[in-house]
């Protein structure tokens, strides 16, 4: 309850269940005068869309967004930007078997206990369909930040991992393969792995890495709203995310201070970047980079024992058209959430000093 708004100045509030008439949102706080590139928004939506390749869910969602306010003659007016996305492929009958059943490692049980009454169809509010709204808002935030470059890519699928720093990768590969990884050969290996797992009716986890480049110095609001703290929250709010690390991350805990410290160059840049572009919660102008861990999708096309709301053990069989691995479609969502965080701090930072 009441946790459906993200941001302080550039604020996104979303609504909608996967099988209601529509999902949507309101972006409040986008400055007036921003020329909107609608094609760019559509392109981002396409990246998140189901059915785009053989390794993602085959649900058919049109995912076309209708803007209802806040944009006039192609430019933002400073008033709230309301938008909706119709739910066209609802197929509610697909979900009747779970009306009274709590699927393992889904949110059915917790939503039922917390609220007492829930829309059980397709996950309802807990469905990742909600993230389409984040992509819309993120696409606008990206346009506001047109001088900043945000690039996410799949860095691991199960045990298969890109074991290179991002600086050794070719980002131009990312959108050329359905896995959205930044290495041509690994892309094929990962794709085959996901297909094999799908054939077994199983799913697999993975990792997305993200790099934000050309960030101005000064973004982030210590002590609680540190740049990386808000990025972490943003990523952890995405469905299926289990972890977040930035800069040297968990590996950095093994280093000594003398190894980990980033020496300055005379121009204020640093010779290494263990900091991940953030010092004391504030961007230092270096690249921000971070990793996000995604668990394997909980819906498997296998028979599982579970319970119903009466506490009876029941057998259930996953149905529907689900993602065997969530990370390829989550890449644009990671970018969108990163854009929302950066846009908010970019606005706030304009007020840091006289």
């Amino acid at each position: 309850m009441a946790g459906n708004t993200f941001g302080t100045l550039f604020k996104l509030t979303t609504f909608g269940e996967s099988h209601g008439p529509a999902i949507g949102g309101i972006i409040d706080g986008c400055p007036a005068g921003l020329e909107i590139d609608f094609d760019a928004i559509t392109a981002e939506m396409q990246r998140r869309k189901p059915g785009q390749s053989a390794i993602v869910t085959q649900r058919k969602e049109t995912d076309s967004v209708q803007f209802l306010s806040g944009i006039f003659e192609g430019k933002t007016t400073g008033t709230p930007i309301g938008f909706t996305i119709q739910n066209t492929d609802q197929k509610s009958k697909d979900y009747s078997h779970i009306k009274d059943t709590y699927r393992p490692s889904h949110a059915d049980f917790t939503f039922d206990k917390k609220y007492g009454h829930r829309d059980y169809r397709g996950g309802g509010r807990s469905s990742a369909r909600e993230t389409a709204c984040r992509v819309v808002a993120g696409a606008i935030a990206k346009q506001l930040l047109n001088h900043i470059k945000i690039t996410a890519y799949v860095s691991s699928v199960g045990e298969l991992s890109l074991d290179k720093p991002y600086t050794d990768l070719d980002f131009s590969e990312i959108e050329k393969n359905p896995v959205r990884t930044a290495d041509k050969e690994m892309a094929v290996t990962m794709e085959n792995h996901i297909k094999a797992i799908k054939k077994q009716g199983d799913t697999i986890g993975g990792t997305i890495s993200c790099v934000i480049q050309q960030v101005p110095i000064g973004l982030g609001e210590p002590v609680f709203d540190k740049l990386h703290a808000q990025l972490g929250k943003a990523m952890l709010s995405i469905n299926a995310v289990k972890g977040f690390e930035y800069g040297s991350g968990f590996q950095g805990t093994k280093l000594r201070g003398s190894e980990h410290n980033d020496r300055f160059n005379p121009d204020g840049s640093t010779q290494t970047n263990h900091s991940g572009g953030v010092q004391g919660g504030i961007s230092n102008g270096a690249d921000i980079y971070f990793n996000v861990a995604f668990k394997p999708v909980a819906t498997i096309i296998q028979s599982q024992e579970t319970i119903n709301s009466q506490g009876e053990i029941v057998e259930m069989m996953g149905k529907g058209r689900h993602d065997p691995c969530v990370v390829p479609r989550a890449v644009p969502i990671v970018e969108a959430m990163a854009a929302l965080v950066i846009a908010d701090f970019w606005l706030l930072n304009k007020l840091s000093k006289l």
Copy 2:
């Protein structure tokens, strides 16, 4: 800058620099009628205090808190709880050498660029001294949540790691050793390691794990204010933190859905707990557990090259009395921030349904 408040209903706002007259805070939203155990607050402050053992900084801070409002005749009144902690051991001269120098991997550079004018003494606002205020507020939150048990411990120091699940550890060991790890033998090994590193004038990173037990079902406010997202933000807002993972975390990305899913027992509990006590952003009643990565302290007692505000290369030598490893003293801070998150969601959840 307006990032100094944490929480929605149980709100902490802090102020203070390491070398000003005092630090302090305001807790707004603590319900009336809570009997305050002042000894328990003092005990938490003692755990965070410098000088408590040979492996932490030898600064002498009294860290005694003075409550100025909101508590009357030993009980909260529902009005804001104002408190201050005097800065008694300021030794400002210790820091004159950094007035114009940016220490590597400290926040000197970013604060200077963001604000144009900063209190350079001892890190100023970016000093971890500020976390003393969090411990005060966390100690009160713990009392509000007296039915919930929050336990943090050091799970790794550099390469030395407790390679056991928390369920195999003896939590009663934690406060018996200066490292605050949950294993008697490892405690000695870690302590010796930290001492050796200290002797070299160097520092080392580490990991803290935290377990929250007896959590009611229903805490967390999707879609953005998911329980684990807010926990992640809370932890990432602590000085020196580089990563956060909960439940199966980064390791969980390697599993398949059929392995990772937590099967239900008829009573709604689960047979495994890869979920880490949270499903869809809402607590499910199982133990919440998570790991927090801390980088090595940036202040080393070695000579380092760095730059000053004119962009000139200067030689600097770390001075002062610093922690060779931050994790032993960060254990109560992790618990405090966890308590703030849980208290806030516990209050919010009372309003989830009619």
Copy 3:
């Protein structure tokens, strides 16, 4: 920018311009399990609707609301309630004459200067059409507060004023006359007055009074979010409002303390109610009553000199179908905003003490 959300826990965010495709909003924080009476919502919308009588604007807006989320099988689910209201009667050509003209005492000039780019059609975001969304949310808040009675009525039109305390009025008259005043004879006088003014192409101001009965003791969050302070803000945020007073109000400034103090009865109620049901910012269980001042509508069907965006003097003639007096249609808006305030404080107050 960013001022389109009202409330702390029971939160309404609205969007929409008068001549875009739709207006709408998101209600976040309504507890789950509330059975929604859709007819009651429609009834409130009818009260605000244009064209309902001869003394209000004859625009034809259907004002039918479509709920998109947050309500399932007739009950709230605790997730955000998204809704839209289509703009069916746009007639954009009516407004082409003001594209480049600043109408006197309208918001054209200030919106243009603040945002640099605005939807000039029919007032755009500054149109009172936006209040339809408030009525939707208020209607749901009223259902949440079904034990509390909120009654607003027109207490003056121009110089014509009901000079009686609300306790001497017959509230059952209010909805029986198009003016929505609480006196049968005065209703006729006021109606004729409005008609005469309309015939002259002019407009007139007025006052709405509101009474909230059966309010539990304890609502309001001092020191800043006092019950009457938030009520005042709510009312002042309605288009055309110029003043707010509660209890003894401006007249009370002329009294002495010995006259103004409300003596207690043994049961905690008071013998008089100069306080207006609020002491120290907290409801005391007595009736809350307040007055809201509305200026005359700025659009008059007369020729006026004004300026265009080039600073040239131009002649303009009000067109379109406007209200000669805004108060009859503002009655449900006042009630709606009052309901939003009370609902929010009612939820907050559940957390005041252990």
Copy 4:
């Protein structure tokens, strides 16, 4: 209770009871680099201080503020400004007679019912002593807004009223008389009236008017956070306030649109200013002016019947040193709250357009 913060970007959070060790607050969001004039702050505190003349309470409060953070070498650093004001003249015994008694038209009853446990000494949190913190923050906000002029004055005491528009008054008189009215002769009349009422052990209400000049165009954030709505909330949050009106106010309801509309001059200024400097919730560059109604102080030095917490009728006699009329000392509080509102919107408005 979580209503102790005011503002969105320039945020004040206060704490403290009248008879605890201290009151204080945190200002978060003041930009870095503002040179602080401490004498100007002291001067504002002197204006609010008890004991400054024969017509105000003779309590002796030193009201000297200690800044604990956020200001370094005389300039703000962008970090939170923490401050305390000691309660030196507590005389707690003065209040023992009300421990168990609810004073008429005070907040004793409502605080007791809402929180169950309260600091009964001298009003505790509901005491106007808290407003000293607002004056501190307001004095800093004024310095941030050094190009804007905020002037408040007493416009009525009981039936005695300055019946002139502010443009006909001599503001240089205000601080020359203890009533703080803007007319030399009326000042004497009002002073004598207050003295006569004081002699009777009674109190009297009054009105404060405030004018804000040289306001940039564009301040205010529709639709809910309209400039006048937030000003209204700010004023209504001050102790004893019963009403707020701006521009033409309640009198404006009697006018016709043709009389009330403010005609533009070619430069965008207006020939009249019924609008009170605000159109559509946004400042238009004209003077902002408004009136604030204060009830008579509830503490009278006469015998009154009231009840105790057992619901028994008891006789009580006002003791202590109270204000016979609150408005002279409330003048700087009105200005302070106005400054907080303007500072917040001034910062927000920097982000309205690209």
